[in-house]
Symmetry: D2
Subunit: 156 residues, 4 copies
């Protein structure tokens, strides 16, 4: 079972309707491809991705900032309450083989950065744009559809 | 699925043969009772408990001290590489509804203490004895068989 | 400055008057010996040790479980708000060259265990007694006075 | 002492000579203004900022990713070995009242993001540019000189 890829879907707890639809589709496609879906375990984009995966029988891991396992959304099969606040973002990045960002606030940006720091491929669906002098291109790979994002994440 | 109890089985990476047999039996009984088995993900007691659970179809979560998911023993279904060293012991304590200690070195003692601090029931099979002035009894509940330990952990 | 020894004084947030007197004396003696006093930054034994050190010009570091630096007691010179709850206990153990436990509840026990795990000498003043089959003696070194505890911690 | 502002100076372990000169000047100005300088404790920008502060008598705190206090650069007065790898970046963000980024790789980007998430003002000297649809301006405040960066950080 541990040979299955782990893909994190990250994004805000209060995304737009469009972001939630996108995340749900990403979750569904990841599960259909046999990936374990890792998320922050709460609402919004996290819940949408979890719902998409669970509905087709996928396995969803939620890594929670708080200390109560029961705060996880109902689509999470395995909930890890870290009690470490934003420090849990590092655990998401470490656990995932690849990361798909859907939308994103500052917390999502930190997960993107930590994933890049750890050498994990990061795919973005309408998320942050990053630029720095001397950097030829944005280190986030852009996808325009959930299917493209999933393909990039599984075959970086 | 999140309604299932999560029980951590903790103990040394290099336990005695007897401790490993005990841990495997504990893992088996927990899985048969429908519990998710949480462990430190490495060898020794951790691996024995995982093997016992997996062999009867149980679900095993491994919370690793290192940063590589593939360090988990082969019976772990969901591996979380924390990269936080001994700080991961807190995550074990937080994630579990109850804890069963089999044998134990200082790392196990820290998991026992953190679990007690967080109000989780701790059952011991030949593990540490704790005493303190003014404390009427050892806060670790003693069990003499794996079956008794599992019964205590699931019905504290 | 980094050549100075770092000694953690650990104990409950609500200790007895006697424990507080003891911790204050420990803090004072550590500071007079040139040690940096590390503590959990809150009240009770933590505050008493910090007060004892600060009053003779010692430097006190507080490693807080919460996320607000201003929760530190007024004798802490450098406050680190970890926002990680009990996971901060590992940071205390890592930072210290030696640990002195004064009294102690489960949180203190976890700091003792983590320090022992990390190979740091642990000295106890009326704290936990630890026993395990096959272990010849309690791994906590007993001291009967603050002066003896400080001597053990600085010259283990 | 806890009333003094804590300002983190963040940037790569292997910055350019120009970044190091800038960081040293930032460290010096912060110390002269009475701030505690917080950094990641290692080389490059971290060491330059620490050197600048220490040379004028400032107090420097280093929050290290590894588990050995002695890995800190020689200008760090108080070293905290976290043993948590990149998870220590959260501690930098939590500890600081404001953050100044000098240059920056992905680790620095994660510290910027975590600081923004926690509501801390972030000032940038030739660092990342962040953009997102619907976001009117870069959440990093640009400074063109060390003096301007320090002024922004202390009076956001």
């Amino acid at each position: 079972m541990s040979a299955r890829p782990y893909v994190a879907v990250i994004g805000p707890a209060a995304g737009t309707e469009n972001e939630h639809r996108t995340a749900e589709e990403v979750g569904r496609l990841l599960a259909e491809a046999g990936a374990v879906v890792v998320c922050g375990g709460l609402g919004g984009v996290m819940e949408a991705a979890a719902r998409g995966a669970e509905r087709v029988g996928g396995l969803v891991v939620g890594i929670l900032p708080g200390d109560d396992r029961h705060d996880a959304n109902p689509h999470v099969a395995i909930a890890l309450p870290t009690g470490m606040g934003e420090a849990r973002n590092v655990l998401l990045a470490r656990t995932a083989d690849a990361v798909i960002a859907v939308g994103g606030e500052f917390g999502t940006l930190s997960e993107i950065a930590l994933s890049l720091k750890l050498g994990k491929p990061v795919v973005g669906l309408s998320t942050w744009s990053l630029a720095r002098e001397g950097l030829a291109e944005d280190p986030i790979r852009r996808a325009s559809t959930p299917a493209e994002a999933v393909a990039f994440a599984l075959h970086p």
